[in-house]
Symmetry: C2
Subunit: 162 residues, 2 copies
Amino acid sequence: MSGYDLRKVFAETALGNYSSSPGAIYPALARLEKAGLIEGEEDRAQSLRPRKLYRPSAEGRRVFREWLSQDVTRDDVSRSFDELMLRFAFHSALGSSTATRRFLERLAAEVESYVEELRRQRKLFPQGAPVHSRLALEAGIEQYRASARWARKALGHFKEDE
Amino acid sequence: MSGYDLRKVFAETALGNYSSSPGAIYPALARLEKAGLIEGEEDRAQSLRPRKLYRPSAEGRRVFREWLSQDVTRDDVSRSFDELMLRFAFHSALGSSTATRRFLERLAAEVESYVEELRRQRKLFPQGAPVHSRLALEAGIEQYRASARWARKALGHFKEDE
DNA sequence: TCGCACATGTAACGTGTTACATGATTCA
DNA sequence: TGAATCATGTAACACGTTACATGTGCGA
């Protein structure tokens, strides 16, 4: 894809929580190319403003798969849940339903244990604390509970082997 | 509170998705003081390493209330839901159940309409698209559905007037 | 007196934001 | 031919991260 194509993806789809600003996209593509993770090919080479099409390099694909295969940690769950979902969204690139099953099982387990911790925090709320903050904590608990249910249900899609 | 007190809050509570690193906290406090939003008072003034206690200034409280009273936009819902919840958590400072009710009603409405958009995106998924990405989108839908249910339920706590 | 928790800060670095600058292509 | 969309980029600035630096007070 070109930088412009990527900008449209980030601007128009649910991936929109990632920035589509040119000041983010173009320097990032330049960094990735410099790091050897993607390779750019000029489309209208003779033009003053050539279009550049990027594709992952072999090394880039390797690093990508490594990123996908990372274990799900408690920290991921509480601090970067969205990135975890992004990882899951690309799991098809691994082509292994065993790996995906492991991911979902670990995710469900970590989320469920985090829900327990949040419930403990709610119980420890001082008597005088305003309702609002307790309710906000409960909003978080409900979001995570929904995610745990989703993960358990999603496991059903990956019952078969490799 | 002192910078150290704040670091502990961010490190130990569910507010932990905000950074507790000294390189974030101390410069931020300095900026807020320079902007006139908080006022620092030195605790052990004669010491080489005095403790500094900060409290909001009148202007700071005004700006804070302004932040709390902002309307809930569609953009907030899709891009900074966590900040919305943080705003709600501090709504007690407004001391107006009318304002809180309006916040929750707007939130529920915007979340519900966003869920509809995400469902449309799911329907538009190309046939060949991998299950994983469709499931990831569904995870998001379920999180937002849980939030909408929470908001409707929370409204029950703010039925009375001002 | 040793170690830990308390307590505040800075410097280098990376990267995102906002705003600006430029040019190409397509179609009414 | 003018406007819209395609398309890429830079510069100033803000701010967070990581790592480092420093000092205080208390209890075993």
